[in-house]
């Protein structure tokens, strides 16, 4: 059974103007397996999947399903034939219930007019039972956590009769426990005969879940291997064509006095719910402090309060170089030397419709300004933009290009470069490497370490536990708005921190501390 190819893509070629996005790609997927598709941003993964789901038509090449050449014309036909996709950004209607979202467009009907709600519900419940999904059908989407939404998407695809399920970077939005849940579900689906195409940036996960790995690079397949034939380093070098060490190289250096000191900080969100509870910590000059935590543990409100985007509760104290800054505006904080890399790159990090130079000077124009107080000095703007572009290797054609034309990794380099090159004393960085490729991650990591070595205090708030552990001199764990000490660099293992992130107590962890005091 497992030798049978459920899907074969043969000699797929797709070009956009002069760019060859897919060049003679062959992909053979066996039934009942997890087939991972990996590659850097822009390697052609998305294009290939869009061809598979018939959003794009290839210039040439064939798609064979169950040994038969297909001839679908629309995405709908592809979906009906059993090709389902769970997109990275969920395609759900927030104000509808889970149930409505699942049946939308594929309703069972009485006499072709009225929705047969019972039949629909029975079908969904059948699927949930068979594949062990536990989702509240009558809750509205907006009430549910992200991990649940992903399950809804998967159930939706199954409801539509998916035999081949494409998961596009499914773990990028999940917590470690969410990932475990997802992997369990994937294994279960595969055991019941479904086929999974798993797109990812994260090599560890790919090794854990995949039966076969296809590596794409520059629109071509560079290798199709089984996980036992290769190791992470080998795979990484196939992806980027060189050795990538996904291990940050940190050197010891002495720390200075505290730049940021937080005392008894409490913050409410806009609904008035207390999200950060009486938190105290400090970041010293030259020190990288990482905040690990499951998404939604209060990180967002913490960072907003630190950068002046949200007022802290009375009694809270935020000190920058010893001076209270509770009431300082973001502009004032920038002038003092606080930089901020927001998590939501496209929403808050850049203005996609504006040019690269317009994005480069945001914040800089306040903290540093130009030789004239009122006028934009284009020579100075170009100079600063070029510095970012050069030092952070932003691939672009000219500084007047719109930012949305850049890839995710390049946009992130631009944002990071903008904040890093402003001679800040404190940097607050949220998810510095979310959704970007290995090469860019490595680059940004090295820049963060370099910056800390030059004496800048850095607070990293990341949902990527490995990132926090690799970079931080000191780890803080945030759980339900409270911060607990996660030890110094490599004091605790990933599992121990993971336990803290899920609300375990330090005493539970300390039993088997392997103190690797440096």
């Amino acid at each position: 059974m497992s030798d049978e190819y459920i899907l074969q893509m043969k000699h797929i070629r797709k070009t956009f103007a002069r760019l060859v996005a897919n060049d003679d790609i062959n992909l053979d997927v066996r039934k009942g397996t997890v087939h991972a598709l990996i590659g850097e941003n822009g390697a052609g993964k998305s294009t290939l999947m869009r061809i598979l789901t018939h959003i794009y038509k290839p210039d040439s090449g064939e798609i064979w399903l169950n040994g038969q050449k297909t001839n679908f014309k629309t995405p709908l036909e592809a979906a009906r034939a059993g090709i389902g996709m769970v997109h990275q950004e969920f395609m759900l209607y927030n104000n509808l219930t889970v149930y409505d979202n699942i049946i939308l467009g594929f309703e069972e009907k009485h006499g072709g007019i009225f929705i047969d709600k019972k039949a629909c519900r029975a079908k969904i419940e059948g699927i949930c039972e068979k594949y062990q999904f536990n989702i509240p059908l009558d809750e509205k989407i907006k009430e549910l956590p992200v991990a649940m939404l992903q399950q809804v998407e998967i159930v939706k695809a199954l409801y539509r009769g998916a035999e081949i399920l494409i998961l596009d970077e499914p773990t990028s939005v999940l917590t470690p426990s969410g990932i475990r849940g997802l992997f369990k579900a994937i294994r279960f689906l595969v055991d019941s005969g479904k086929t999974i195409i798993f797109i990812s940036h994260k090599l560890g996960e790919v090794f854990e879940i995949a039966d076969t790995i296809t590596v794409l690079k520059d629109g071509k397949v560079v290798a199709t291997v089984r996980p036992d034939e290769i190791d992470e380093r080998g795979l990484a070098s196939l992806m980027v064509g060189r050795e990538v060490i996904l291990q940050a190289e940190k050197k010891d250096h002495p720390f200075g006095p505290p730049v940021l000191k937080v005392e008894n900080l409490s913050v409410r969100d806009k609904e008035g719910i207390l999200r950060v509870k009486n938190v105290s910590f400090e970041v010293r000059a030259g020190e990288i402090v990482g905040v690990a935590g499951v998404a939604g543990s209060g990180q967002q409100q913490l960072v907003e309060a630190l950068f002046g985007l949200r007022a802290p509760e009375p009694g809270s104290q935020i000190l920058f170089e010893g001076n209270p800054i509770n009431r300082a505006t973001p502009a004032q904080r920038r002038c003092m030397g606080i930089g901020y890399v927001p998590q939501d790159r496209l929403g808050a990090g850049v203005n996609g419709n504006a040019s690269i130079w317009e994005n480069s000077i945001m914040g800089y124009h306040i903290a540093h300004g130009f030789s004239s107080k009122w006028l934009l000095n284009h020579r100075e703007i170009e100079a600063f933009t070029d510095r970012i572009v050069d030092q952070f290797m932003v691939k672009r054609q000219k500084n007047s290009d719109k930012v949305r034309t850049l890839s995710g990794g390049n946009i992130q380099k631009l944002v990071v470069g903008r904040e890093f090159l402003q001679e800040n004393k404190l940097l607050i960085i949220e998810d510095p490497t979310r959704g970007i490729d290995v090469g860019a991650i490595e680059f940004i990591w090295s820049k963060i370490i370099e910056l800390a070595a030059s004496g800048v205090g850095i607070l990293i708030v990341s949902h990527e536990l490995n990132e926090v552990l690799q970079l931080s001199d000191r780890v803080l764990v945030i759980y339900n708005g409270e911060i607990s000490d996660g030890g110094r660099y490599r004091e605790y293992t990933e599992e121990q921190i993971g336990l803290l992130m899920l609300g375990g107590k330090l005493s539970d962890v300390q039993g088997d501390v392997q103190n690797q005091n440096q």
């Binding site: 760019l19 294009t47 950068f307 505006t329 973001p330 920038r334 317009e358 934009l376 890839s407």
Partner: protein, 370 residues
């Protein structure tokens, strides 16, 4: 990959824009022709008359420019707001207040010529500014959408100015028509710049405002911040831009320009405040800004064309059996056509076409196999 794709997209945008205006023009002309034929006139004659009315002589061309001035200035007032994501639909009301204040100061205060005009126009601007302050505060501090408030305040402005003219001013004037203020003093009149026409220096003021705004957006830090606030509020906020201040500024600038426009209209053309003189002037400005997609330079051109149509339509009414509302109707058809989302339409059509082609290919393939 994304780089090249975006390139295609930019080319597409240019193409779609060309198509948008071209196609809209053609459809509007066709529908306009139908409209004219239905009234028993020859469209070609009507078009000729409109053209003659707009450009036929110096005086007629003057009329075009005379109408261009308020279109331009109010187009800019609207564009400033729209660009920053503020829906100032209250331009009409701000114009009314500006006109009223300028008229009152124009006849009741005695000052040397230039100074008098300056005082009246600035006061008119400030009255527009104050009138937009209310919706601005409601928006910024109570989160009440200015879409509704500015719209409603138009009616209040129209009725309140009429009330003031009637009640307070009617007893004291030598003119018995209670619906207008006395004429402004000669020192407050904005002079005609092309003799023999009705083109006053108002046009120059309007052009100066448009160029000033263009300059502000292109070369100043304030303009840069306003643009970013309009395009991505959170980005600006994170960058440290004082967003509330920016919004307030946008409201106030828009209101000031609208109010000042009311003032220059009164001082340059009517020389007194007629109740309801602002009727539709504000809406024309909003439409001009819409068509020009809030681009200050484009506003200049659109305002000119709009002015030509206004002048032409008056001529048409005089010469032919046609009603000037025909032209109004044609203008609105054009605005409607321009408002269509052609990009979306294109993609839908393209998709349907690909579908059909695929079906044909499939059929041909099927035949080949059999």
């Amino acid at each position: 990959m994304s780089k090249v794709m975006s390139k295609i997209k930019i080319n597409d945008t240019v193409r779609i824009n060309l198509f948008k205006y071209g196609f809209s023009l053609i459809v509007t002309l066709l529908l306009g022709a139908v409209l004219i034929i239905a009234q028993g006139e020859n469209p070609a004659t009507a078009a000729a008359v409109i053209f003659d009315g707009a450009f036929g002589s110096l005086t007629k061309f003057g009329n075009t420019l005379r109408w261009m001035a308020p279109n331009l200035m109010l187009g800019i007032a609207a564009a400033v707001a729209f660009k920053a994501g503020v829906s100032n639909l209250g331009i009409e009301g701000q114009v009314a207040w500006g006109g009223f204040v300028a008229a009152v100061l124009g006849y009741s205060v005695q000052l040397p010529p230039l100074l008098h005009v300056l005082l009246c126009v600035v006061a008119a601007g400030i009255s527009g500014l104050l009138y937009v302050l209310l919706p601005a505060i409601m928006r910024l501090f109570f989160n009440i959408n200015e879409f509704i408030t500015t719209l409603m305040l138009n009616f209040i402005a129209a009725i309140l100015t009429e009330y003031l003219v009637d009640l307070i001013l009617s007893g004291t004037v030598q003119y018995s028509t209670a619906t207008s203020t006395p004429n402004v003093l000669d020192s407050a009149i904005i002079p005609i710049i092309i003799p023999g026409t009705s083109v006053s220096a108002s046009l120059l003021i309007a052009l100066a405002v448009a160029l000033l705004l263009f300059f502000v957006y292109k070369y100043t830090i304030v303009g840069y911040e306003l643009k970013q606030v309009g395009e991505n509020l959170r980005f600006a906020k994170t960058g440290g831009v004082k967003v509330v201040k920016s919004f307030l500024m946008i409201f106030l600038i828009s209101g000031f320009i609208a109010g000042a426009c009311g003032g220059i209209e009164v001082l340059g053309t009517y020389r007194k405040f007629n109740t309801g003189f602002a009727a539709n002037m504000g809406w024309d400005g909003i439409l001009v800004a819409r068509i020009a997609e809030s681009n200050p330079i484009a506003v200049i051109f659109v305002a000119f064309v709009w002015g030509a149509l206004q002048a032409g339509s008056l001529q048409m009414e005089r010469v032919t059996e046609l009603n000037r509302f025909t032209v109004l109707c044609i203008k609105m058809i054009f605005v409607l056509m321009v408002s269509i989302n052609y990009e979306w339409l294109f993609n839908t059509i393209r998709y349907a076409w690909i579908k059909r082609r695929n079906r044909k290919e499939a059929m041909a393939g099927g035949l080949g196999n059999s």
